[in-house]
Symmetry: C2
Subunit: 756 residues, 2 copies
């Protein structure tokens, strides 16, 4: 654990610049608007270690798959997020000397991410000899105008004498990915132009061997300032504007750099892109900085109105949940259905930008409650639109139907470990579950009947081909899988996988009854196929242990040496950094919820005794070495009234990045895990469920808290839920009255209801 | 299958030069002397595709381990065989024009590997305009003087006019491995010298990051010819001698290039190496070509005397077995106990030069019968001397004792697939078994009691730490292994692995009773440790099925979809080239003997009913996609009197490379599998066993053969075994009379015994 920022309800703020913590600072002060984003790296030159990263949603490059030993079926390429052309660069000079925060004498340093407004502010005083200059630097990526990056400088001369200030503003294509091979670069400059006060660049990703699209970026920088533009040198890969001016003693002047960033993802042709860039530049050049900032802040204010979670009695928890909400909304707010939630969002290049099953498992319930249904529907459509890729993936393994990828940009699998790529097929179950979850939450089966059914049918065909019939047991089995617990590989009859497969077939069979005859015809499902699916549903094998009363994680799990995780010596934790892989695999230790993930998904299908027996058996074996693990356990613990355990689990998820729990936040934030703290509060502490079209709550308050409050959207209503030690108050903020279930009682909410 | 050479009992001969078969020709005409060897590439320039390879035993380079996803415990480097400096190069010119067999008009082409003498002869006529010249080129690597490579030219002018012939002879360090990354080269030239008639080079492998030794090569070329030496150009990486002369019409002249090759493996210092090179050069420069050739041929004649297998009635089989014996002896004849049998020997760089468990499983029984005991003892000492590496490997996995590597040059594991590196631990069992096998065959337990016991104790400590106790079953288990059948990974309680583990512990416990008190003290084994081993022996778990009467390959094998391999569509064979890895893993198909490997090792411990039930169950599921598979099945089939099956299996191993069965002989020969055809004949058709210190035979003759005959060494005797349709004759060629078992009868052999 390492906390470098102050605890503050709305700010991520620090007054120190510690070189060894620079990457951590950068990760934590990342900003984004769903369309693009960047780490909290400085605009100006900084000569110490730094991880520079600016990312544009959906812009990636297919890198040749590199493995020690090739296996049939491996994907041809691994998609990697491309570090974008650096359009934020502004080097500063004082009397012609470059400012370098790594070397200069600096004081009054502050870096402050305002989570309420989505603005990153920095301020510092640079002293060079007898010259002292204060800089206040605000930047944002506009939540109101996705193509806009804006950085604003207020420069104050604190010296007794005048100083000359210089701004060297660039769009620079000479950038690298940190994991690049042999200094490979991805951007080729197509053209550049520049005037004294601005400049533009068109750049294109380099050709690739795999026939995936190349991406074009168009960038126009505009400068608003009283400083004078000067001639700037031409370089091959950069467009440069230079501004200089002299500040009298105590004088303050402003400088603003706006960059419009467009991509070929939004334009059909290079010509259209150029013209789009020009139009946006014209539109935005007319606005004042204050206009642009206000529009941006207004969007964030609206988001918070719908989504804020207030916690009293625990400032660290308060900051934690807001940080998570802020970063999630910065990564994805559903505007572009071709995009998804990357595990690192716009905060780092590791796993960067690609889509994982995290979205369906942990993202969908979050967006269902905190944004309009369309946002979640866009996440579902993302998969619908990638069906072709999923068919391709199944075919690569010689199987029918659709296999959604573990990691992808375009629907085609790009991960290359056989035990994951080929075997972690439970991911297909979560894709199906998200359709069910969306339909249950919204009460609207239009999506299910029009598009969802295509996905369900394709996944069901995969399951029906992937099972085999065991003559000996006279049951269907699924051999050779990796469950959500990636600390077991290539196991047989993983209970969770078998459960999700059977459930998908059941749900598909039921859903097919609801669709139109035309749709059924389109899907071309034979009676034989339906009968086969039903037979699999009826005769699916599940390992269980009657004596323990548990579902068994996989066929031979109970033969393991079943010592609890608490028996692992502290100096061997986390085990994934200390044990060789075989040791981990044969141990009984569970990386993240596996059987419990299935129980979590279908909480109301299991008896309290079943839930208790399984939780009591599996949780002590769980090492929670995936950031996705604690949230599910928090919700289940709360359901079982294990309140202390629920709070312990919550604490492991709420400040994972803010406190650098896993010692890897330098690489970027754990974006997809960030929904976990919200799930722990809302589904866990507040016990939110949807049961038979009714929203239900059964809240408790963690001992250390006095009160918490959150909002949820549900079927056209916005509800505010307030919980303190005395009871719960539910307020209908907007929408039609509805009946909810509160602590097991059915209550009508027209205005406010309370258990106090 | 592709047969490019003629069927001939002692020759691998072809009269065609087919560019698309060039690599196949090169693999098949490889020669070697245990110390060095080379593919059948041409000495002269050849501008079409070719896989050039000259290898020196024990000369390798540690390449950084490259994997897509790193796992804890992976080795730091992957050892690769280094393609040696090309010292065989001799470019030819006719009237100043370079000879290029890829482009010139050639006729009367022959390439002929004489397996009896170990000489590779080529001959061809080159026509350039009105000039016709015939070349006869003989080469060998001396079996009598390991450092000597010799190539001899006889050039005959067939033209009406005189022609000028040129020989441009080089030692050239500008060589690459075919799998090199980014044109990486391994040799750095330390120094060169040259006179008009010869030259020398000292070269060194480039530095590495892993602290493994660098190797130095010293090479001296000497030329014997009436052609005149001419000035040759100096180049950075090559030493060159040029010889020219004019042949009158119908005149014949000779040219000979000898190269002495020494390495730092045999000399303590660079100075000693230089002086050794000089001494050898002096010694060998005095000899005539005929002297050198005769000495070489005499060694081969002696080898054949001890080892030849004669087959009448099947010329293809005859050629097959001799080819295998020839290539095995070319790879390893036990002279250097720091070397071992590489899977490709000196015939290719793939898996090149490294040591696998093939040696103990398939090499040891072969050398036991066909060479002096010391040859096999050297193979055992190789492992004894690498104990430190085996301790290191176990420690990498957090385990006690010694884990012998899957792939190694120096005892340290260098393979990097987790399912192999960490899990294919049965290899340890074969290391132990080889000690048992050697002791049983020779009847001499000196090695066992002095060195073998150290290895057995270290392996037993590994097994004792690697098992775990299943509370549920109250038995010891081994989870997370890959058995010999690499088409299953990460399985639990692989019968073979458990069997070998228990057997090793039993054998170690028994052997410890035979060693001296001092030795026991040195080994530092406590009573508790012995008790623990005995407990594991007593309570080891073995999956079995009473109904089928079989040992079960691993815990859940019988739940598979158990269709026979014959049901796999022909266009999907071999499955490893058609199916994705998960498909292979969950299929019931077996790559090579697994349960049957254990039965093969301990044939006399099992009842005929057990052997039959297991063979009948597993063989139909076996796809034999490892070249190591058919031999074991041939021996077992013969034991069960399934003679047709035994012959079928023999046929898959005898001409594997000659007929390019697996379509991969272009990469080099399957050296370690080559023992298989001998094992199939001797242990299979002739039923050779060692039972209670007695050698036993129970021969049959394959229907298509009229007669076969082989020799075996056994405890100081050389026996000739002759089998035809009438019966078996055993002749004591040398050594003291002994009693053997023949078809179940005990018979004394003083001279000849026969069942006819």
């Amino acid at each position: 654990m390492k906390r470098i920022f102050e605890v503050n309800p709305w700010h991520v703020v620090s007054h120190e610049l510690v070189p060894t913590d620079k990457r951590l600072q950068e990760s934590m002060t990342s900003i984004g608007n769903g369309y693009m984003g960047m780490r909290g790296m400085f605009e100006e030159h900084y000569s110490n270690d730094s991880l520079k990263g600016i990312y544009i949603g959906g812009v990636w490059y297919p890198d040749k798959t590199r493995v020690g030993w090739w296996k049939n079926g491996y994907p041809d390429y691994f998609g990697k997020v491309v570090n974008a052309v650096n359009f934020i660069k502004v080097n500063l000079t004082i009397d012609g000397d470059q400012v370098d925060l790594a070397k200069d004498e600096i004081s009054d340093f502050t870096v402050d991410l305002d989570m309420h407004t989505g603005v990153l502010r920095r301020s510092f005083i640079v002293t060079k000899g007898d010259k002292r200059v204060q800089f206040l630097i605000d930047r944002f990526v506009s939540a109101a105008q996705k193509e806009l990056f804006d950085v604003h400088y207020s420069v104050h001369n604190l010296s007794a004498e005048p100083v000359q200030i210089g701004f060297i503003s660039q769009i620079d294509a000479d950038v690298f990915n940190e994991d690049a091979n042999y200094d490979e670069q991805f951007w080729q400059v197509l053209d550049k132009s520049h005037a004294v006060t601005g400049g533009s660049m068109i750049a294109e990703t380099k050709p690739n061997d795999f026939g995936t699209p190349r991406f074009t970026l168009g960038m126009q920088m505009l400068h608003q300032t009283d400083f004078r533009g000067a001639n700037a040198p031409e370089t091959e890969k950069a467009v440069t504007n230079i501004f200089r001016g002299t500040l009298a003693a105590d004088e303050t002047q402003n400088f603003e750099k706006r960059v419009i960033v467009v991509t070929s993802r939004d334009y059909d042709s290079l010509q259209a892109l150029r013209s789009g860039l020009a139009k946006l530049s014209e539109k935005l050049s007319g606005a004042t900085y204050e206009d642009l900032l206000r529009a941006h802040e207004a969007v964030w204010a609206k988001r918070w109105e719908l989504a804020d979670v207030v916690i009293d009695g625990d400032d660290a928890a308060q900051q934690g949940i807001r940080f998570n909400l802020f970063q999630l909304f910065s990564t994805y707010y559903g505007e572009d259905k071709r995009l998804n939630l990357g595990p690192k969002g716009f905060t780092g290049e590791k796993y960067g930008g690609a889509t994982y099953w995290d979205t369906e498992a942990f993202g969908v319930p979050f967006y269902l409650s905190l944004a309009k249904p369309q946002v979640t529907e866009n996440l579902l459509e993302y998969r619908y639109n990638q069906l072709a890729g999923a068919f391709h993936n199944a075919k690569q393994q010689g199987l029918a139907g659709a296999l959604y990828p573990m990691v992808t940009f375009n629907g085609i699998e790009c991960h290359n470990e056989w035990e994951i790529t080929f075997e972690e097929i439970h991911r297909n179950g979560s894709i199906a579950y998200a359709i069910f979850n969306y339909t249950r939450y919204t009460g609207d089966d239009t999506y299910l009947k029009t598009k969802g059914i295509d996905v369900l049918t394709a996944i069901s065909r995969f399951w029906a081909d992937r099972v085999h019939f065991s003559e000996r047991k006279q049951m269907y089995m699924i051999h050779g899988v990796t469950g959500p617990n990636e600390y077991e590989n290539n196991v047989n009859n993983n209970w969770y996988t078998n459960f999700m497969a059977r459930w998908t077939l059941e749900y598909t069979l039921a859903s097919l009854k609801k669709v139109t005859a035309d749709k059924r015809t389109d899907l071309n499902i034979s009676a034989d196929e339906l009968a086969k699916w039903q037979d699999i549903v009826d005769r699916m094998y599940f390992p269980h242990d009657d004596k323990l009363g548990i579902f068994v994680q996989q066929d031979t799990f109970l033969d393991k040496d079943l010592k609890p995780a608490s028996s692992i010596p502290a100096d061997q934790r986390p085990i994934n950094q200390h044990w060789s892989w075989d040791h981990i695999l044969r141990s009984p230790y569970i990386k993240q919820a596996d059987v419990l993930q299935g129980i979590y998904y279908f909480m109301d299908r299991f008896t309290p005794e079943q839930k208790k027996a399984n939780f009591d058996f599996y949780e002590p074996l769980t090492v929670h070495e995936s950031s996705l693990s604690p949230a599910v356990h928090a919700v289940l613990a709360a359901d079982l009234h294990y309140e202390d355990k629920a709070v312990e689990m919550y604490q492991r998820t709420a400040r994972l990045d803010l406190d650098n729990y896993n010692n890897d936040t330098v690489d970027g934030l754990h974006i997809t895990s960030m929904t976990g703290s919200w799930l722990a509060i809302v589904q866990g502490f507040a016990g939110m469920r949807v049961r038979d079209d009714t929203l239900a709550f059964a809240p408790f308050v963690p001992k250390a808290w006095t009160h918490y409050q959150f909002h949820v959207n549900f079927r056209g209503r916005l509800l505010k839920v307030d919980v303190d030690q005395q009871g719960t108050t539910v307020t209908l903020v907007s929408g039609e009255p509805l009946t909810i279930e509160l602590n097991g009682q059915s209550v009508a909410v027209a205005d406010t209801v309370s258990t106090k």
